[in-house]
Structure formats: structure tokens, C-alpha cells
């Protein structure tokens, strides 16, 4: 198993420090690690386990239960495709399938260049603009299959 570098250990410990005195600190710790460190690999879970006294297996269980948490680094751009009821009936499945096809990754995976991750989301509360897609906080309302390649290209253009 890979070892974390010193800076990463320091960063994780600082996040744990913030919440360690809470009554049930695990969710807040994991949430902040996901946001700030980007993902929660087993090496990180071991530190959280040491600090909180919770078994690694239990932490691993929480990390794999919530789709918000990730065991692997996510891409620079996180494509969140809503698959809630309203979006689904408006064709969201075809949209996420198109993203998968064009990026050659499955939902939950990240492209080899580290640029894109596809996340399948449950209802994001934007049913009025279904089907909705979010990319790093930017909302794309009433998406259609035809728009998918244009959206991807716009982000690729930013990187070029």
C-alpha cells in the first residue's frame, strides 16, 4: 500500500483536529477530507482510525456507503448527472450514457488524463430544469444528448 507524504499526513491531521471533540466526528472529518484532500484512500482512513478509535473497516464502510465519498482521486471537472425521478423520466440516463461513451469511462470513474469524473447523482432538487447536469457547481439545465459533446469540448478548450 502507498504511503502518504508528510504534508498529506499533516493536512489530514489538521482536518481531524477540527472535529475530533465533536460527539460523532466521523462524517464531518470525512466530508472535509473529501472536499479538501479530494479523496479518502485507505492510508487516510488509517489515520482517521488511529485518531478517532473507530475501526478502519467501519470507516471504509461509511466511505463506500455514501456516493459523495471517493476512494480514488477525482478529476479536475466533476460531471454530476442527476438521475432523480424527474431527470430520469426526461432522459437523464441517455445523457449520462453519452458522457460515458464520449469520455470512455463509467459513472464513478475518472479519465486517464485526470480531467473528468462522471458522478451519478440522485435528485439535486432542480426538477424544474430537468434533466440537469452540474459541472463543478455550474448548472446545465434541460440538457440534451446533442449538447454533451459541446459541453465536454468547452472544458477541453479551457485546458488547451
Amino acid at each position: 500500500m502507498a504511503k502518504l507524504n508528510e504534508a498529506a499526513v499533516k493536512q489530514i491531521n489538521a482536518i481531524v483536529d477540527r472535529h475530533i471533540n465533536d460527539k460523532t466526528p466521523l462524517m464531518m472529518i470525512l466530508s472535509d477530507i473529501q472536499k479538501e484532500y479530494g479523496y479518502i484512500p485507505l492510508e487516510v482512513q488509517e489515520i482517521v482510525s488511529e485518531r478517532t478509535g473507530l475501526p478502519v473497516a467501519e470507516i471504509y464502510g461509511v466511505v463506500t456507503f455514501y456516493s459523495f465519498f471517493s476512494l480514488k482521486p477525482k478529476g479536475k471537472y466533476i460531471i454530476g448527472c442527476c438521475l432523480g425521478t424527474a431527470c430520469y423520466v426526461k432522459g437523464a440516463q441517455q445523457i449520462i450514457d453519452k458522457f460515458s461513451e464520449l469520455l470512455a469511462i463509467k459513472p464513478g470513474e475518472t479519465t486517464e488524463d485526470g480531467l473528468f469524473t462522471i458522478d451519478a447523482l440522485r435528485c439535486i432538487g432542480a426538477c424544474g430544469i430537468a434533466p440537469a447536469v452540474t459541472i463543478n457547481g455550474t448548472v446545465y439545465p434541460k440538457m440534451s444528448v446533442d449538447q454533451v459533446s459541446k459541453v465536454i469540448d468547452s472544458y477541453r478548450a479551457k485546458e488547451a
Binding site: M1, L42, P55, F65
Partner: protein, 588 residues
Amino acid sequence: MALINIKIEGQPYQVEEGLTILEAARRCGYNIPSLCTYNHGECSLGSCRVCLVEATGARGLVASCVYPVNEGMEITISSPKAVEARRFSVELLLSNHNQNCQQCSKNGNCELLLVARQTGAREGVFQGAKTPVTVDEISPSIIRDTSKCILCGRCVARCQNAHGTGILGFENRGFATIVGPAGNRSFSDSPCLLCGQCVSVCPTGALMEKSEITKIDEAKKAGKFIVVQTAPAVRASLGEEFGMKIGTPVTGKMCAALRRLGFDRVYDTNFAADLTIMEEANELLARVKSNGVLPMITSCSPGWINYCEYYYGDQVDHLSSCKSPHEMEGAIIKSYFAEKNGIDPKNIFVVSIMPCTAKKFEKERPEMEVDGNRDVDCVLTTRELGDLIKRSGIDFAKLPDEDFDQDLVGTYTGAGVIFGVTGGVMEAALRTAYYVLEGKEYGPIEFHQVRGFDGIKEASFTLGGVDIKVAIAHGMKNAKPIMDDIRAGKSPYTFIEVMCCPGGCINGGGQSFVRPNLLPNEDVDILDTYKQLRANALYSEDERNTLRQSHNNPQVQQLYKEYLGEPNSHKAHELLHTHYQRDRVRFK
């Protein structure tokens, strides 16, 4: 405890307040089909829905394992609604279950099979996809097969409750949920103690020991000289494999069975337990005299050694360097015994019958060999020995009582017998330490201060002017505070006994399963009493033994005189001592 009035199937009963319906019904003579064996919160989450009944005052059917009885409650177990609901629950469980029951090694002890029969579950009611399967056969001790797992969580609870290690957990979500070590790793790639407590509680064949029975057939075919040895705790449990009451001592029948199974010698690991005491007591005295590393901690329990290496690798110098007794016995059989009998040690095959799954791993450790000869070649659990006896068509109950072979390494003392229960190694060591330091035997023989099932036991003695403070811990949850004190440099103890499994080896992960719903002839509180019943079997054998101190074992004395010289001699170190890992990687 206040009594309340309830009715079950229309019949009036008085039961204690605070009981669950399941417990109350059992006391009144009703066994509600259930997967939860009333095991003190280990599983009783009410989630499997197998034990549904009708109860007045409740909305719909209730899970009797978690629903408490109250005054005036009327409980119906046999209504069509309840019967159908229980059957439905079991059929759902079976729909995602590997149904190769004939070949499953849990056949005969499976609680799922029992409730399937009890509830009348039908074949093929729900068909469709099944959860992807993981089979972990990498560790030498335990096999995990998720195709048989029903996600009850008993193993998760036991691992955490007994040891605080929490190796097992639920992973993923919904239909993809499985139970396993973090990242669905092998037990070998996790800091698992391989103690088998999870195996003890698994209701199905999802967790089982890795069987080595076929190795014996191979050794026989190869014409090996096969020596078998049995750990003390085995005799306190083996009878259960043949329907005997828990705690029935079966030493004599076990010897007879082993002889009929074709082993060339039948020995007792207790000989080596006595040897361990000689080595360990002298190691301790040497450490006390030379200001060596103290407290010294026993090293008989391989689960404990795994724990110490994984979690307190910086403290392994506190461990006695003694190999565990069965490894010592193996080393002596392949040297002293082999020489005396003119047998090439390469042609000797040593089989250990152990109450333990971690011993299977221990025997594979590279350091457990002398001159290229493995100390022990095969480890069978108590359960596997039961299978071996059954396979050979031996009617165990009808066997005569026989004795172990008595030549060279055959005698043992009562001190060796009690190794199998928490506090036993300490008591055996104290009997000998008293003799060494006071120059005479301890009059009452027994040290009751170190007996019993308290998680941590302490006692102080002044022997020959030397102050000795001892502690005994069993279950790693109880070892942790002691180890934290040692790490902090504030441990008050001289000598500590640690056993991995709660209660010691009598409750080892290789012992017979204690499943109240499969043991109709045992008392309803058997889960509270079985450890004591098994311990009594060992203490009573100690009492019956004429030799009760390890140093009085004549064959151990002979071994030192003729072969080893003295305890902790160069030769003794070569054969009987080992070393430990400081930086064992927890997650590979």
C-alpha cells in the same frame, strides 16, 4: 426482577420484565424460529425478520428478538400471518444465498438451514441476480465466502466486542453490500488476529476455518511416521461434536479415537506446556535478576502475538521468547524423540489438534522450524477432529477410555491442563515460581486469585523476598489498556498472561459451536455458562492428576538431564524459543 403476566398461544405465563419476546418464549418452552441466538446484542438488530410474531398492542408483526414483553401481552407464534411472514423472510435470505448445502462444511451446524426447515421455506421462490461473490482462501486460518453471508453482522460485532480491532465491516451499499476486511482484502492482508471468533458466531458457512484434514491422508500415503498432539482445551469441547453436554471431559475417548485413526503416537501438548513453564519461569527470573525488560508477557496465544506485532510492534521485547507449547512439542518430537527412536525427522509428520484457527497461521511462520524441519506440519481444530472421527466411522460415545502414549514425552501435570483457560498459564507459572523462590511446594496448590472470567485480573505475591505483581487479560480489548500502560512506561506488573480469545482457549475460534437453537438439551442460559462448564472440565482434570506442578513432570526433568541441559540453555533456545516482528504492515 418484577414478574409480568403474558399469554403465549393463549396459555398464561409469568415472566421477568424486560425480556424480549424471543427470550420470554424460550423460557416458557417455545422456540420461535430465529437466526439470532440470543447472543447478548451480537446481531439482535431485528433486521433479518425471521422471528416475526403477532403481539397485542403492536402495530403489525414484530421481530421477537428485539421487541420487549409487557404486562398483558398476548403473543401468537402459529397464526398463518406470522408463519407466512417468517417463511417469506427466510426465502428472501435464501434467494441471495449459495445453496450448495451438501458440500458446505457448515452442514450440520448451519442456522440458516435450520430456520429454512423450521419455516418451511420453498425452493426457487425468488429468482434473479445475486450479489457478486468474494472467496478469500489466502490466509492459512480462515476462509471467507460471501456467497454464504446473510449480512447479519454477528462477526462484525464479535470482532469489535472481543478485541476492539474491528477487522470486519459492512462495505458498499444496497445489493452490493458485503462483509469483509476494509477494501474487501484478504484476512492475510489486514491486521487480523486470525483468532476465529468471527467463525464461532457465523450462522452459515460464510466464515470457516481452512480445513487441513486431507494433509493427514497425504502423510499416510507418503508413509510418514505421524505423531498427533492435543491441546488442553480440546478435551473440554470435543464431546460436543458428538452431542454430549457442554463441559463433558472426554480425554480418554479422545485418546482412543486418535489411536483408531491410525496415528503412530498420541501425545498431549500438556507435556510441552510443562516445558513452557520451565522455560518461561526461568526466563522471567533471569529478567528480574538482570534488570531485563519487564513486565514479561506470555507468548502461548498466536492471536495475541499477532495483535502485539500489529498494534504494539514497539513493545515486542516484553514478550517471552518461548514458542507456544505445540511448537515446542513439535520441535522436541523431531529432535529428542526422533533421535531416541532412530527415526529421520524428515519422515515425521506432526499434527496438532488445537482449539484455535490462529495456530494454523502460527505453524506457517518461517521461524517455526529447526534445521529445515518444520516444528508442526498440520493443525486441525477441535471441529475438524470431530469431522475426522465421524468420517472414519468411529462411534465416539462407545469408545473405551484410554490414555496418551507414555513414552519419552507422554506425561503431563495438572498445571499443563489448565493452560486452556484464562489464568491457567499464570497459575501454572506461579506453582513453579513458588517452588523455585520459596524452596518448597505451595501448600494449597491452587492459586484461586488468578481464576475466573473478569476481563483483567490482578494479584500480588511476595515469593522468597521477591515482590511479584501479575495481571491476566483475555480478549484484546482487555489487553489494550495494559499495553498502553507498558508503552507509557507506567505498568506496575512483573508478569502478564494474555490470551487472545475471551475466556482463553476453551472459547477458542476452533472449538465446537455453541448455538442454543441447535442445542435443545442445554439450559436456556448456556451462552452465559458454557465457558465455565468447559473450564470446570479442565480444573477437574487438574484435581484428578497426581502431578500438579510442571517442575515435577518426570519426563520434562529427564529431557533436561539427557538432552537440553537446563532451562534457557543454548540447546533449549535453539529448539524452544523464537523472535517477533516489530514492523508488521497492517494493510497490504
